[in-house]
């Protein structure tokens, strides 16, 4: 066998091995998306009820001032929580989230705010450490399947930072960047301001209030009191929002990885096909060359014997 054929055979073998790996990763990611999606669905009743409760209190007890609901007159510091993945090989998943966070950072800086970075996921952490930019806090090791306790761990320093005075290193605002899971095919990085709470004062909302009157919301009784309820409610609200963001990001990560691995598998398949063609052509060329050598040799021999006969 010719040397060229050997080279092609070796490459086909290596690409086939890679294809097996990417195919396996694709299948694993596909099964995990379903699991992650189920977790998002399971957590949504709690998040919805909690949002309802928070909105009710905020509407009913407008006279209560709480650090988590009142806007600072001149915000100077903001915390930014960025959610990326622990592992790579997920296409543009982490870099898209990073891009969104860079965009938001630039925007906040332009507004004259100092930005504290809080990062979830090894990819995000290495992005910041490589550029030698400071991180206030980081968490790794659970982006595949986050638990509620992970969300609590992430939320604790953030809540603490927002409750502290800005002069003592606290923050006025809390923003979050995560990847929203829209469908199997679409995941988009989103930037949200989590605190202080923004109550949607959209056009439809005002229209609804106009139609139903301001009394549309029931007047609540608070046990023990509105302030204590808010005190207890808001940290839980932040935790549940972070939990939801973590779960959506996990689902997005798996979906992004599945897609990346699917295209890697397809590419490997194409490569194998073209390499096989090249290997066949090289083999054919070898055979043709051998035949022409034999024919050439035979005719040279025939010419030589014909000459000696005379």
């Amino acid at each position: 066998m010719g040397a060229q054929v050997k080279v092609y055979k070796r490459r086909i073998k290596s690409v086939t091995a890679t294809k097996k790996i990417t195919k396996a990763m694709e299948m694993i990611a596909a099964s995990r998306i379903i699991k992650a999606q189920r977790k998002v669905d399971a957590s949504s009743p709690y998040a919805e009820e909690l949002t309802n409760a928070v909105t009710s209190v905020a509407y009913a007890a407008t006279d209560v001032k709480h650090p988590l609901t009142t806007e600072a007159p001149r915000p100077t510091r903001a915390a930014l929580l960025l959610i990326t993945s622990d592992r790579g090989l997920a296409g543009g998943y982490s870099s898209n989230a990073l891009k969104a966070s860079e965009h938001l950072t630039a925007q906040l800086v332009a507004e004259g705010k100092q930005v504290d970075h809080y990062v979830v996921g090894r990819k995000g952490v290495s992005y910041y450490t490589f550029r030698e930019r400071p991180i206030s806090d980081s968490w790794t090791g659970f982006t595949d399947s986050p638990e509620y306790s992970d969300a609590k761990a992430v939320a604790a320093p953030l809540i603490e930072a927002i409750e502290r005075d800005t002069a003592d290193g606290g923050v006025d605002e809390l923003h979050i960047v995560f990847t929203e899971f829209r469908s199997m095919m679409t995941q988009t990085p989103v930037e949200r301001r989590m605190l202080p709470l923004t109550f949607s004062r959209s056009a439809e909302d005002s229209a609804a209030v106009f139609a139903q009157g301001v009394e549309a919301r029931p007047l609540y009784e608070f046990e023990p009191g509105p302030e204590q309820v808010l005190d207890a409610l808001l940290p839980r609200y932040v935790e549940s929002r972070i939990y939801n963001a973590l779960l959506q990001s996990a689902a997005s990560e798996h979906a992004a990885r599945r897609r990346a691995m699917k295209s890697a598998t397809d590419n490997a398949q194409d490569l194998i096909k073209s390499l096989t063609r090249l290997a066949n052509a090289a083999r054919q060329a070898d055979i043709t060359q051998e035949i022409s050598e034999i024919v050439g040799g035979a005719s040279a021999l025939a010419d030589a014997t014909a000459g000696s006969d005379r």
Binding site: Y46, L50, A53, Y148, P218, E221, V229, E239
Partner: protein, 127 residues
């Protein structure tokens, strides 16, 4: 008779939902019982049992759950109990709770001890 639409929701799942004629829960300022047509209420719960007296499709009976921190909100005949951790009485692993109680006593961890007590009490009421 009026009924309550009760929903017991934990952070990561929906634990129980159905109709009831009364729900008793422990807020930070004491036990509170809620019946249909109560005034809209938002309360902070402490670690304790939640007792639901069921009616309707789920039949007459009681559902007891151990709830660890959370909220109770009632408006327009709809009552939601939100908790970070909530377990129905028949889901509670009694042996594990007893072990947790022993451990909490040994470590003199009053919070863990309370949690274990509540779990055991809820489990006992069911059986």
């Amino acid at each position: 008779m009026a009924e309550l639409d009760v929903e017991l929701v934990a952070a990561d799942r929906s634990v129980w939902s159905g109709k009831a004629d009364m729900v008793i829960a422990r807020t930070t300022s004491g036990d509170i019982g809620i019946m249909p047509n109560h005034q809209p209420l938002l309360g902070v719960l402490q670690t304790g049992p939640v007792t639901i007296r069921t009616t309707g499709e789920s039949g007459q009976g009681t559902v007891v759950a151990a709830v660890h921190g959370g909220f109770l909100s009632y408006a327009d005949g709809k009552l939601s109990v939100l908790a970070e951790i909530a377990e129905l009485a028949d889901e509670i692993d009694v042996e594990r709770a007893e072990r947790a109680l022993e451990k909490a006593k040994a470590d003199t961890d009053s919070h863990a001890e309370r949690r274990a007590h509540v779990r055991l009490a809820a489990a006992a009421r069911k059986n």
